[in-house]
Symmetry: C2
Subunit: 201 residues, 2 copies
């Protein structure tokens, strides 16, 4: 077993390294050569863990997606279920930090995913999971009578997902229009616009 | 003058060619060498029109942005001002065609723009212009008493922009979840959710 554990751990370390290279220098630098150089090991070592660049980049994106949900779980852990968790999760997706760590990586995933079915699949799996989170919070909020049941849970989930994507893209490229305080206000406004108050009993 | 006209026309032709290469093969293939090869001319000819790859790619993205607004103008030309134009413009931005021509190019712009201020500027200019369109249509719709004045024109514009960005990203990577008919329904639902009906006189 130790060898397998080591192998998996090494792959995760290399994925982390590839992500760092993409964050710093963009996807074009995330070549086998560039990643090996950044890690201070030979190309031969790298090819022991990944067949080719495609496998490495695909694995790195999966690692980013996995990490994002681990961070999201941590962000909502102390927050009560329902509406409060929904708000926290949406705010989490429109990062407050000035230089959001995974944004560049995710934009590069999109750039590559149009011509690469494996990367497109990482996108689909990520969004399917993100929508499950949102549906769960929405259902909790309805059950706790914080909001009325959405007319369409599917459409409401897709609108929240879409709007938050647009906001973080805006925040990434137009930080002056979307300063941190305004991002929170936009998320609050989004919820006030999209959700309907529960009827008085 | 003819020489300048020829020069500008040639630059536009090369930009179109670069966009075609990006659409077909992704940003990685939009090298000076790859574009020259696709056009059937030498690298020397290309360097007569563009100093380097960055200048060429920046110009190509500007050309795409320009072309998008020309297409948008054509799409709304026969549509009455106000709410009808707003709907048409939003539908235009969530393309109905199965293989939307500029989506791959735009995703590649984003991938590159995080590390390239000139490309980031193309994004900002494009979005500033797109928001001007939306504000104009919203104001027309208010003036024509089709809708109540938004509580915040700025927030409403940013929400419409953000949601539509999220929808076309969804449509690009999850066409089965976002079939063409549903895209129209989502735009209609977005307007119904975000806009408030005009008060009866």
């Amino acid at each position: 077993m130790p060898r397998i554990v080591d192998h998996d751990r090494r792959r995760a370390e290399i994925a982390r390294l590839a992500v760092r290279v993409m964050q710093r220098d963009g996807a074009e630098s995330a070549t086998v050569r560039g990643i090996a150089k950044a890690g201070g090991f030979s190309i031969g070592v790298l090819s022991h863990y990944f067949r080719d660049k495609d496998e490495l980049v695909g694995f790195a994106f999966q690692w980013v997606a996995q990490q994002s949900f681990a961070d999201l779980d941590a962000a909502v852990a102390g927050v009560p279920p329902g509406l409060a968790r929904l708000r926290t999760a949406l705010e989490f997706m429109v990062p407050a930090s000035g230089a959001p760590s995974f944004i560049r990586v995710w934009l590069n995933l999109w750039g590559g995913a149009m011509g690469n079915p494996k990367l497109a699949r990482v996108h689909r799996d990520y969004y399917a999971r993100w929508r499950r989170y949102l549906r769960r919070y929405l259902r909790e909020a309805v059950r706790q009578r914080e909001i009325a049941a959405p007319r369409s849970l599917r459409n409401t989930t897709d609108l929240l997902t879409a709007a938050v994507d647009g906001y973080w893209i805006g925040a990434a490229f137009e930080p002056r229009r979307f300063p941190v305080r305004r991002r929170r206000a936009l998320v609050a406004g989004l919820l006030a616009t999209v959700l309907r108050p529960a009827r008085a009993a």
